[in-house]
Amino acid sequence: MGNKKQKSKANTNGSRSRNGSHARVGAGALARPVERTSKEIHSTTSGVRTYSIPDYRLEHPDFTVRQRVEKDKQGTEHVRYEVEGDLDAPVPPIRDSKYLDKKQCIEIYRWMLLNRKMEVALENLYKQGKVVGGVYFGLGQEACSCASAYALDKDDWFAPMIRNQGSLLVRGFRASDTMMQYMAKADSPTKGRDGTSHFGDIEKRNMVSPISMLGDLIPVLSGVALGARLQGRNLAVMTYIGDGGQSTGVTYEGINFAAVQNLGLVLFVESNLWAYSTPSEMQYRCKDLAERAIGYGIPGVIVDGTDACQVYDAARDAVERAHRGEGPTMIEAKMMRMKGHAIHDAASYVPKPMFDFWKKRDPIARFENYLVKEKKWLTPKENEELIKEVEEIIEAEREIAVNSPMPTPESAEGGVYCEDGCHEIKPKYGMPKVKKGTGGYKETEAAVHLK
């Protein structure tokens, strides 16, 4: 059967996808199987189906990266990446948010500043030899990390990936937590046992610790939503995957599980163009990863990942869908990773014009311009004071982190199992209210398989 997507580039009015699933959810409601019909699918008389992927961007960068053989001065051949496309396009404006007011915009801007300045501090700590291992950066992705996490309610859950260190700040972790992780300190959230953003908190901040393997958080967050739903709560569960990570099989399994179970997964696909050194052209064939949502039967939208307002609006719509029990949403955020994979990687494989193009779309510079010059919600003086305040916070956090001792060698031991009453386990949102069928226990008949 043929099908055809219709990606409406002209769709800038913010009209949103409304998936047609009307499953009743919450404790006791029979939510499976989810209805397959969708108002989004239109059949024409010719029998061709069309689907829509709302695209909220105010520009549509269209580049192609390919491998090319170059000769150096000695005539030796080298394979290099080159980029083709309109790299001189003007920078688009920030799209006004449907939801955010002045105060909220300034708060998000402040988180983005904290995000960036924390990473600058981490880079300096690395250069001073204080970091164990490498440092990962979210440069150019701060709007995506911070505005997405800002859209969650307090009881919602999330799990960051390595470039979402800003999300951690928004959700209530301190910069010193991440800094101590990088320095493998005794007071780090994992007490030295893991680094980077690999930590979590199931008590207060509702964060699942990431692992290095990509995609595995997606079914886990779906399971969090399942657990909460059994306890009578429709929660939003947000996590992230890159254009590289989405190639993994568990990504498919996790999204599909959330889709058939109608769980409140809010999946940000961070299309940052480079997976370590591999361009997105070598990860997937479709035009935009949001199109994959069609295959899962869930809404998919595209936003400019460098525009905090677009990121927030899409995230908030998805979070509210989750709270209403309407199931998962995939949000593709387009942007670029503005450093190498980690601090050791100079990203010399990236064609320079790509850096130049996206540097002009720096999420913080654009948002600053929007708040100070366009909206005049911040005076230049207030902005300076805000930046100064953030820098002071980061300096104080840096001091705390640096002064934490290293863990003792013996602290490597213990804690493998939960034992001796170290945790009391009970349903976080209350014991599920269960009803029982009339069927009593009966011995089962003989099995049919492999006797």
Partner: protein, 323 residues
């Protein structure tokens, strides 16, 4: 009451779901169909589709979702249709679930269960004993019961445990053995071995279906005046070091018997424990009886050749006795 091994497991999960609303089941075909071996037969009618969830064929998603739900304080029981398929979820178990408590202090009270083992001509993808993949993963507990009593008591312990437990049900035993199971609630502690037969001449350290193979061998050998002691480990991670040491100190001779391949198998680990704890007590070499170092073949004569048999135990016991 007399119950089959399968019925004992089924009753154990049923009673835990009845007792504790935070327990729920998920897996492939476990709902209306009742599971490939009918372990969850009738559960969906009693506990509802919210708590008896048919999933897509996606083992990483099943384990991931069970783990996520456990983080909210639920106690999921996830079924693998065959334990051979646990390999599909290996990363989720090894890198996510097993490391969680050690790394960031989150308990994960979930159970992964399903049928394993040979002797039913299931072929290379429906007969495996993949427990060693997880014995080498600190952070998960690995349970392999041999009797209906232990199966019920241990599945209850696993569901109530605050750690991830992998519960290997031996499919050869499912409906072949019956045993006395008390009507009242009871549990069998995880990590404690059981002396399945007391004896004085030599010890067989084993678990799961091989306990019955060892018991058969003991009957044959008793007629020759050889008195076997049989230690049923019940849990293979954590191992009951004390019970292993005690039986070796008592009989001074030991055979370790398991179904899975010899190289890198559990016998090597147990031999090392004996070496550390009871070296001076040994009066003969530590003997291993195990599956061949190959995949487990399909055709009955080949499978028979691959797997340990009663006659192997009898032969090795006679040889070791002579030391």
């Amino acid at each position: 009451m007399q119950l089959t091994y399968l019925e004992a497991i089924r009753q154990g999960i049923w009673e835990e779901m009845d007792r504790d609303p935070s327990v729920f089941c998920l897996g492939e075909d476990i709902g209306i169909y009742g599971g490939a071996f009918k372990v969850t037969d009738g559960f969906i009618d009693r506990f509802g589709p919210e708590r008896v969830i048919d999933t897509p064929i996606a083992e990483s998603a099943i384990v991931g979702a069970a783990f996520g739900a456990s983080l909210t304080g639920m106690r999921p029981v996830a079924e693998f249709q065959f334990m051979d398929f646990i390999g599909c979820a290996f990363n989720q178990i090894s890198n996510m679930v097993a490391k969680t408590h050690y790394l960031w202090g989150a308990p994960a009270p979930l159970v992964l269960r399903g049928p394993s083992g040979g002797y039913v001509h299931g072929g290379p993808f429906h007969s495996q004993n993949p427990e060693m993949w997880f014995v080498h993963n600190p952070g998960v507990k690995v349970i392999c019961p041999a009797t209906p009593y232990d199966a019920k008591g241990l599945i209850k312990s696993a569901i109530r445990d605050n750690n991830p437990c992998i519960f290997f049900e031996h499919k050869y035993l499912y409906r072949r053995i019956k045993g006395e199971v008390p009507a009242e609630d009871y549990v069998v502690p995880i990590g404690k071995a059981n002396l399945a037969r007391e004896g004085r001449d030599l010890s067989i350290v084993t678990y799961a279906a091989m306990v019955h193979t060892a018991l058969e061998a003991a009957d044959i050998l008793s007629k020759e005046g050889i008195d076997l002691e049989i230690l049923d480990l019940r849990t293979v991670s954590p191992l009951d070091r004390e019970a292993i040491t005690q039986t070796v100190k008592k009989t001074n001779k030991v055979i370790i018997l398991h179904e899975h391949s010899r190289t890198g198998g559990l016998a090597g680990e147990i031999a090392a424990i004996i070496n550390e704890e009871a070296f001076d007590d040994l009066d003969g070499p530590i003997v291993r009886i195990a599956g061949l170092d190959s995949a487990i073949p399909f055709s009955p004569p080949q499978e028979h050749h691959y797997l340990p048999k009663t006659e192997d135990v009898v032969r090795e016991a006679r040889r070791l006795r002579a030391y």
